[in-house]
Symmetry: C2
Subunit: 282 residues, 2 copies
């Protein structure tokens, strides 16, 4: 585990003097890795042995070992960050920035997901009579992709990116049906209405959206996908990728729940594509 997080967690277990040490370290960890035990003790206004005891309490062998852990934590800390593309970036620069922002978003999204809700969603999906995916704009492609995955499972699955079709489908839904609505903002009026209609007709509504939005309020289960601020270019970017990864997670959960025989079936679906491909000569 990251030692900085560990310090934060154990802050209340520490004694008064040890907490002083902790505070100095948390305030400027990168300085500390270049300080001697004496310098740090002075900084925190406590004695050297206290620093040493502090280190041991965090399960390190002593001060030098602690510094090693700290250095590693710093190296690990958010390896990918959301950097904005700049007007004068070269192709190499904006490529790196976009990929790294995407990775940072995935990292954040994973942290914000609640595994127990994923588990419940998988429960619901495996027992569904029919599954519908609805999205508009950038989220439409996520719904499209979800259909692509779930239809392999041999369950009735539809996807619509058309408002009227979504409404009609929602009105026709019934108990045992699962409706998955996808929207990053959670504020698209027509989609909120669709969710509400589906709910009124006793379908289970799962929202892939942000917590606390109007759409979230209409859902039985909210899979909240937090995403770093989108870039300045006025296009949805990372959000849909995080949503797609979530679809992968749900599909995977589904196949795991169904057991190994079911997975043999997936292989057959894949093999059925073979004749449409050029052979690979490895």
């Amino acid at each position: 585990m990251n030692i900085l997080e560990k310090i934060t967690n154990e802050l209340d277990i520490l004694s008064k003097s040890e907490r002083k040490v902790a505070e100095v370290i948390l305030a400027s960890p990168s300085t500390v890795i270049h300080s001697s035990i004496a310098a740090l003790a002075k900084q925190a206004n406590i004695s050297e042995p206290t620093v040493n005891r502090f280190c041991r309490r965090l399960d390190t062998k002593g001060y030098p070992d602690f510094k090693l852990h700290l250095a590693q934590s710093l190296a690990n800390g958010t390896p990918y960050v959301n950097r904005h593309v700049d007007e004068n970036d070269t192709a190499e620069e904006y490529t790196s920035k976009i990929f790294e922002s995407t990775m940072a978003s995935l990292e954040l999204a994973r942290k914000s997901l609640d595994p127990s809700l994923i588990n419940r969603s998988v429960d619901v999906l495996t027992q569904a009579n029919k599954i519908s995916f609805f999205g508009l704009g950038a989220s439409a492609i996520v719904a499209h992709d979800a259909q692509n995955k779930f239809f392999r499972f041999n369950v009735p699955v539809v996807y619509f990116d058309d408002i009227l079709m979504q409404r009609m489908s929602a009105i026709n839904s019934r108990q045992g049906d699962v409706v998955i609505v996808i929207s990053h903002t959670g504020r698209t009026k027509s989609l909120v209405e669709v969710a509400s209609l589906a709910k009124e007709n006793d379908a289970t509504v799962i929202g892939i959206t942000t917590n606390g939005t109007p759409l979230a309020k209409e859902c039985s289960i909210v899979l909240s996908v937090e995403v770093a601020e989108d870039t300045d270019l006025y296009m949805p970017m990372s959000s849909r990728i995080a949503q797609l990864a979530l679809i992968d997670v749900l599909a995977t959960g589904f196949t795991l729940r169904r057991g190994s025989k079911f997975r043999d079936n997936l292989k057959k679906v894949k093999d059925s594509l073979r004749s449409s491909r050029f052979e690979r000569k490895d």
Copy 2:
């Protein structure tokens, strides 16, 4: 820079004894960060001052500082790896694995992309009379997403995920048109034919695929997206996400090339959606 790489690079600048030290370190860096200078000297069969000199030659302050750098380098190494989902994984476990595999794939994809080819592709795209995106199966959603992005730029853009429409469109293409074909395997027969038809009709064909495949051979520019081995579940996962990130890169390159006035225009497109949304009350 990673200090392990640095050691490797400077191996030939080092003296005989110093090289012994380097070899011991490279052989087992993780052991070294827990060794004292005396232990390492003994291991390498040289004296302690030699170790110290070695450290300084690598621009560190001394042995402890060197160990710090080494620890950080070790911590940086491949933060995300492609771990396979296991039969008995909990929801939390498979969620983490999928997100991490996706991130690992993005990392790999970014490394495999050639910025100069991206630059050329952006050149071609900004000068296109018409842009078409073709994909099938999982790649269809990438084409779909690309259309979603590029239509905002106010250039004629189409996307087809239907073989016949793709063929017809390809046959009707002409000089100045750009056709982007998307396929991870690069072996889908009908798509290779479509690429070939477009090429015969003097369109510029950009392939988002893997180098060396039949599809790649038909393309004027190949944007090769390498991706880690897909998981065992017989579904495309990371490949389409890496492709989407690449679409983001192309779209971004496009807007940067077009200049700032053009970007104001994008804002207008985005703002036009406002009335379809519930207001945010922050």
